[in-house]
């Protein structure tokens, strides 16, 4: 198993996109963990006199309208966004897989109704779901995760459906079924491994979109509650004074863009690295393992 993991990471590292994304995502996780114990300035300390300060030794990126230190809030914000991304990807992945299982089920009534349901609900945008949820639940991380997770799960099912149906109707599945393979065994033995590349790309795209959605929903007041640090929060607070202090807008936006680019490139690189058909190194590992 370790050799297989080594082959995946090395082929990830070989690609320029893979290298960049590994570095950025690694930094993101590191900063999130560090911010649990330390930030350059304590978050609650808002220095009334030192409002909108330019970047200095004390405040590496300066302070915002309330005198709070921008860097510290961004570091703390990375924790929230990491949590949102992980939960959203899990929610979307689970929902997507459930729908794919239903769509490729041998019982045609279930298959057809799930296809119809996905087509009907997919055109309902994430923001509407968020608003509908925000009314009873109020602004919270859960709203973002459920709203985004629901939308991206549907999207995942729709994007992976053609490939999944191709596999479900293939000769090797028919051979497995004629030998008594159960639906679950076909799903996880044949269907999931063959749509894994599509799943990985789509989930990493969804992760990126979740970060973008967080900043949008927070600005509209239905995302992260006002007290909690997040990149969307940092971005939204700079909006009111952009005419006076344009520079402060730069940092949060830059962070979000760099992270989302990294997530997208990570998806493409991971797809080729994990897939034995796309990655000869993985195939060599398999040959060595059987010879051993």
């Amino acid at each position: 198993m370790m050799a297989r993991f080594g082959a995946i990471v090395s082929s990830l590292w070989r690609r320029a996109g893979g290298r960049f994304s590994l570095v950025v995502l690694g930094l993101w996780v590191l900063v999130s963990l560090v911010s649990l114990v330390w930030t350059p300035q304590p978050l609650w300390r808002t220095d009334g006199y030192d409002v909108w300060a330019a970047p200095s030794a004390e405040h590496w990126l300066g302070t915002d309208g309330t005198g709070a230190d921008i860097v510290s809030w961004l570091m703390a914000g990375s924790r929230t966004d990491l949590l949102i991304v992980i939960l959203t990807v899990l929610f979307a992945g689970a929902l997507g897989l459930l729908l794919i299982a239903a769509m490729t089920a041998r019982n045609s009534v279930l298959a057809n109704t799930s296809v119809v349901a996905v087509d009907a609900l997919i055109s309902v945008p994430t923001i509407l779901i968020a608003l509908i949820l925000a009314v009873p639940l109020g602004a919270s991380v859960a709203v973002i995760v459920v709203a985004c997770g629901f939308g991206y799960g549907l999207n995942l099912a729709r994007v992976a459906r053609p490939q999944a149906l191709l596999v479900a109707r293939s000769a090797y599945v028919e051979s497995a079924v004629s030998n008594g393979a159960s639906g679950v065994r076909v799903l996880f033995g044949h269907i999931v491994p063959n749509i894994l590349p599509v799943l990985l790309v789509q989930l990493s795209l969804s992760a990126g979109t979740a970060v973008l959605a967080e900043s949008g929903l927070t600005y509209l007041g239905v995302g992260v509650p006002s007290g909690t640090p997040s990149w969307g929060h940092s971005l939204a607070t700079t909006v009111r004074f952009i005419t006076v202090y344009p520079l402060t807008v730069l940092w949060p936006g830059l962070v979000v863009t760099v992270v989302v680019v990294a997530l997208n490139l990570f998806g493409d690189a991971l797809r080729d690295a994990v897939d034995p058909v796309g990655n000869p190194a993985l195939r060599r590992v398999a040959v060595e393992e059987t010879e051993a």
Binding site: A171, S175, G180, A181, R185
Partner: protein
């Protein structure tokens, strides 16, 4: 009985002269089978009152042009598809009549499938070892790993593939001929009583087809009691391997009989036309 080009093992010469019936009692009996597709205006009947038997250890070829219903017929015989009318019996037990039919369960356990397109019949993300072992793991849950390994290696050797070099490979590293032989190995690993090969060679190079024929010949040498149903539209292949032939034309059996007699003196006009149109003898004797 035809033996392979490489004549791997000389089998005792079976009596294949005129009129002699191939050995073995009828194992699979299909009687008065009708089948149609689609509903309402688009309804199209594909099989009309077809009766066909498959005998123990026999190689039965089912030939006919595209659209003649040969694939549908063989899938009904193996219980993979339901018939609208007619009955199928496997060793006396009923196969038709719903999923729970006794004969159907026994037939499912005792049969193997080989498909036309080699690259769609192997999971691209599974190694050869795992693909060939799948029927064993499904049918014999408790079988120990080394026993599975032994039988997989045995199946690969039978189809002329050296286990050491092929077990760890993925389909993408195989040629068409090699991939189809892995699929054949998978079909026989469970020691089935009957194997259905649905046009196993039409998607493969002529040079590689010969190796597939050798694989089938080697299998029938090792397991004389196993029946092989070969669906094809190529009379050269049929002449090379089949003991008996069933000719289908637009869903009806127009002629049945031993290969030699049928090809030498076809009684039905359509069979004659098939023989006339087939690719003729090539080059030196």
């Amino acid at each position: 009985m035809k033996n392979g080009l490489t004549g791997t093992a000389q089998r005792t010469e079976a009596p294949t002269g005129e009129g002699a019936e191939a050995p073995g009692a009828p194992m699979l009996r299909g009687a008065h089978i009708d089948k149609s597709f689609g509903r309402g205006a688009a309804r199209r009947q594909v099989l009309f009152d077809v009766s066909v038997d498959v005998r123990e250890g026999e190689c039965l070829a089912v030939i006919g042009g595209s659209g003649s219903g040969k694939s549908t017929l063989t899938r009904i015989l193996l219980g993979l598809e339901t018939a609208d009318a007619g009955t199928v019996a496997y060793r006396g037990a009923a196969v038709t009549g719903g999923r729970r039919a006794p004969g159907r369960q026994a037939l499912r356990r005792g049969s193997g499938l080989v498909f036309q397109d080699p690259f769609s019949s192997l999971d691209p993300r599974w190694t050869v070892a795992r693909s060939v072992a799948e029927p064993l793991r499904l049918r014999h849950r408790g079988m120990p790993a080394d026993e599975v390994g032994r039988r997989v290696a045995q199946a690969l050797r039978t189809v002329g593939l050296e286990p050491a070099t092929f077990l760890g490979r993925y389909p993408v590293d195989l040629s068409g001929g090699q991939a189809q032989r892995v699929a054949i190995a998978r079909a026989i690993v469970n020691e089935p009583k009957v194997v259905l090969a649905d046009e196993p060679m039409s998607a493969i190079d002529v040079a590689a087809r010969v190796q597939i024929l050798d694989a089938f010949a080697a299998i029938r040498d090792r397991r004389p009691d196993m029946a092989l149903i070969m669906v094809s539209h190529d009379l050269g292949v049929v002449q090379h391997i089949a003991d008996r032939v069933v000719v289908l034309h637009d869903g009806r059996v127009v002629e049945q009989g031993p290969t030699g007699r049928l090809l030498a003196a076809p009684s039905d006009p359509y069979t004659r036309e098939l023989i006339r149109a087939a690719t003729p003898f090539v080059g030196r004797p």
